[in-house]
């Protein structure tokens, strides 16, 4: 439990640090890229879990993540097309992807109940980190009203997933 909180605090601190380093106002094409990347990261983690998880509830959670994040990302792509915006890679997207790749490799070494626990705990921490980025950085910085509204829906989805992940984590105790 203690270790878990340390991990969450560390993740939150890292996210805060990244936000400060970025400082300069993000553009809508960059925001769209970050939001899309955040979804792809969670889908990739969920697909790893679908292969490796042993607990039924953990697998069901991973299926929910794939389904919801694919749906959000489809909406994001449709919106980008409609607004004729090309999502633009940036330092925040790159940092997120790097962090996620490291985590995927780290969790990938585990198996059985240890994998299940690590995946779900990382899902809690990751969704918290993305919620905070959406609330403090992405939503306030977005210029286009439709993009802002999609990000707000995204925030509610991520907050829902965070609570769902917490329920699953509690059931694994």
């Amino acid at each position: 439990m203690f270790v878990r909180w340390i991990a969450i605090i560390a993740a939150a601190t890292l996210a805060g640090g990244a936000a400060h380093a970025e400082s300069a106002k993000l553009t809508d094409p960059q925001i769209a890229h970050i939001a899309y990347t955040a979804g792809v990261i969670d889908i990739t983690a969920a697909k790893q879990a679908l292969n490796k998880a042993s607990n039924k509830e953990v697998k069901a959670f991973a299926e929910d993540m794939v389904r919801d994040h694919e749906a959000v990302n489809k909406q994001a792509l449709d919106l980008a097309k409609k607004l004729k915006v090309t999502p633009e890679d940036n330092d925040t997207s790159k940092a997120l992807s790097k962090q996620a790749a490291d985590k995927l490799a780290e969790i990938g070494k585990l198996s059985g109940a240890a994998f299940d626990k690590a995946y779900v705990e990382n899902e809690v921490a990751y969704h918290k980190q993305v919620d905070s980025a959406l609330e403090t950085q992405l939503i306030p910085s977005s210029g286009n009203a439709e993009l802002k509204s999609l990000l707000q829906t995204g925030l509610k989805i991520f907050q829902g997933h965070e609570q769902h992940a917490e329920h699953v984590a509690a059931s694994l105790k």
Binding site: D64, R67, A71, K74, Q75, K156, Q159, G160, Q163, H164
Partner: protein, 104 residues
């Protein structure tokens, strides 16, 4: 004996079919919000949830009374059988919460 049983069945069916006109209460799930968050109904009324999101939701009672699946852009109904205050939520997005107040 079989005759007596079916008579009892008929009486039972008649008794349950008669109660006051049942209503359908419509509840919408959109952008991960359940509206209205609190709805009043009577036993025998049907609750119809409509999911306007592109995400699947559920209407799941905390007390186990119902667990209704709501695929994206679909509706589903549940007929209330018991009186009471029922808190329900979406299993996939537990931040979606609402209450039904069911009168006898």
């Amino acid at each position: 004996m079989p005759g007596r049983l079916s008579l009892a069945t008929l009486l039972f069916l008649a008794a349950t079919a008669v109660p006051a006109r049942a209503a359908t209460i419509e509840i919408v799930m959109q952008n991960l919000v359940i509206t209205p968050a609190e709805a009043s109904a009577k036993v025998g009324d049907a609750i119809q949830w409509t999911n306007k999101d592109v995400f699947a939701h559920t209407a799941t009672a905390h007390n186990g009374d119902f667990d209704v699946m709501l695929p994206p852009q679909k509706s589903a109904t549940f007929v209330l059988k018991k009186a009471g205050t029922i808190d329900y939520y979406c299993r996939f997005h537990p931040n979606m919460k609402a209450t039904l107040v069911v009168a006898p």
